[in-house]
Amino acid sequence: MLLNIIFLRITLFLYFIGAALYLWNLVSNKKGIANAALWTAGAGFVIHTIAIIIRMAEAGYIPITSLHEAISFFSWAIILIFLITAFRYRVSALGSFLVPLAFILMASVAMKPMAIRELPPMLQSAWLGIHTILILLGGAAFALSFVVGLMYLIQDRNLKAKKIDTLYRKLPSLDILDELNHKAIVFGYVLFTLGIITGSIWAEYAWGTYWSWDPKQTMSAVIWFIYTAFLHARFTYGWRGRKAAYLSIGGFVTVIFTFVGINLIIKTIHNFTS
């Protein structure tokens, strides 16, 4: 087995432990669980980073072309964004949502082929690397907006229904969640937009056209419009709170569908290598 695959297995294991600890922390008053969880997830992130670097050295290209590679990088980006946010906001409940999400994503492709393949000439382009990294980082920011949206809906429900329980105590204030949601979407939107632009530049090189209305391209345009509408509504009508939360959940579901779902339903030239 290649070294990078061993490291990826260790990463998966650490994310599993981290996710379990974080979920436990959500329902328990025991002190110290959150810290243990943060350290575990942090260790997973370090191993994950090393795995990606080793794989890059072993393959000779940026490893985000196969389904497994793309999902692995996506999970890495989610944990990265989580660690940055956790450092800034000290909200342990974020880990209870983001770490399990990263684990589920990684686990869902754990059985997929992980071997390093020769890259087709068409994909050997720096634009491709930049395009995918931008899109996936943007997607990870949307993942953050998705979980804070979920957390907002739960906390809003707790406050309205006067349900003062452990979950209520663990979840942060509505203001913080709404602020995080907004920041995550702005950040994700910028990266995603740049990702689309670099993608079409690459498409011009590879396919000879900037935009070909391939199903995946079409869906990306839909995503872009959803978030554009979101930001517009926020700025002009003051859409915040629950409405914003629903939108960010809907947006992320579309992102995931475009990312992995669409390849299973419709034939598209915009595929992962296999």
Partner: protein, 434 residues
């Protein structure tokens, strides 16, 4: 030597009794001095708060000590009839006494579990006894331990975490909606004791902007001054409400003052910035249906009270965790207390010396070549003689001093100088293996 607690608290005695035997700060030095005069009392400390009066002591004899300390209460407060207070007194000794002070210090015995004052009062009581030279090795250790156990429980459990008063609950809820209160505005519609208290708490937690509107404008002006805020005429409050993030309503009006359509419009004008409504009035002054509007959160007095109830239960649940910590700490303390007895200390000291003698002997003899059995014998004799002569005087002193006032101090010193406490479990372990 025994630890003894005798006293009474809000749980065993009404305030009429508690106030009769309480000790004022001024009286404490004299009281501590008198307490030490009783023949059986070796160390003493007095804790006197409005909810409890307790005498902590180390006594030579439990029975004598108990009657002496009981007598001290009525001797000192000569207006008190002993028969009147005796039925209210509780007496704890040994492990029970240790558990009691740990529970008191961590507020588990308080009227409101998790309240912070008692720890400060315990600290003060200890300081007083210490500066009046009423405590010794045992009480010093007991009080220091009680204080550290209380701090441990505060950080390790949630007994002090959630609010248990209606007005403070309002602040906590506000913080779950707004996070930062510094840039938020609160509006009082009508005034009452509870809403003023809530406003005061909110101010202490950062709220700067306070608006007051009461039926009589004069009263509003007076209140606004108190909060460093702004008074609004009562007929103007609906239009001013758009600027308020928190609205506390408490008037005597028999109908809804704040209606659904009003709030709906306000939220629209506020571009969906949330508003937290608190309705303390009975009958209610705010239409309960507004809670259904997005970004509006309404709590009436019953809601707040049920949150308080939930928080109380939470604290009690956390109290169980605290009891577990206390159980462990009591047994650690008791183990230390047992080492203060003279016999185990002598045994431990002898064993330690014996170990050193054997080890050194072995080292020396194995290095020597061609020793006859006779020579070996005399080396061994010499080693034994040195050891015995060295520990002879300390042992005699130890035996003589145990019954003196400083007995515990001597034992503690010997244990420290010869590092006997780390040795003890080691030996027990070895014996078990055999």
């Amino acid at each position: 030597m025994n630890i003894l607690v005798i006293g009474l608290s809000h749980k065993t005695a009404p305030v009429e009794i508690r106030e009769k035997i309480s000790f004022s700060e001024k009286a404490l030095p004299d009281a501590l001095h008198k307490l030490r005069q009783y023949p059986s009392v070796k160390e003493g400390a007095i804790l006197s708060t409005c909810n409890r009066v307790e005498v902590y002591s180390v006594v030579k004899d439990l029975e004598d000590g108990t009657s002496e300390v009981k007598k001290f209460f009525s001797d000192f407060h000569n207006s008190v009839n002993p028969k009147e207070i005796t039925p209210h007194l509780y007496v704890y000794s040994a492990e029970d006494a240790v558990r009691h002070i740990f529970r008191v210090a961590s507020s588990l015995d308080s009227m409101v579990v998790g309240e912070p004052q008692i720890l400060g009062q315990i600290k003060d009581a200890f300081e007083y006894s210490l500066s009046n030279e009423a405590t010794g090795v045992i009480l010093n250790r007991l009080f220091k331990k009680a204080i550290s156990v209380a701090k441990l429980i505060r950080t390790e459990t949630g007994i002090a975490e959630s609010a248990v008063s209606v007005s403070y609950t309002a602040v906590e809820l506000a913080k779950k909606i707004f996070e930062h209160l510094e840039d938020k505005a609160v509006m009082l519609v009508g005034a009452g004791e509870m809403s003023e208290l809530a406003a005061k708490h909110l101010k202490n937690n950062g709220v700067k902007n306070v608006m007051v509107s009461t039926r009589t404008y004069q009263r509003a002006i007076k209140l606004a001054k108190e909060f460093n805020g702004k008074a609004t005429k009562f007929e103007d409050f609906p239009s001013e409400m758009v600027n308020a993030d928190i609205v506390i309503c408490s008037t005597g009006a028999p109908h809804y003052l704040i209606r659904y359509d009003m709030v709906e419009q306000i939220i629209h004008q506020r571009r969906n910035r949330p508003v937290f409504f608190i309705d303390i009035s009975v009958p209610r002054n705010i239409d309960p249906d507004i809670n259904k509007i997005d970004n509006v959160y309404l709590y009436d007095i019953d809601d707040l009270q049920s949150v308080v109830e939930a928080n109380r239960k939470e604290r009690e649940k956390e109290g169980e965790k605290a009891e577990e910590i206390i159980r462990a700490e009591v047994s650690t303390f008791s183990n230390w207390f047992k080492t203060l007895e003279v016999v185990p200390t002598i045994v431990a000291l002898k064993e330690k010396m014996e170990d050193i003698r054997k080890a050194e002997l072995e080292k020396t003899i194995s290095k020597l070549k061609n020793v006859t059995n006779e020579e070996k014998k005399s080396i061994e004799n010499m080693a034994s003689a040195i050891v015995n002569k060295i520990i002879h005087t300390p042992l005699i002193a130890l035996k003589q001093e145990t019954n003196s006032d400083d007995g515990a101090l001597y034992i503690e010193t010997i244990r420290k100088l010869f590092n006997l406490d780390k040795q003890l479990p080691h030996h027990e372990h070895k014996k078990k293996e055999k």
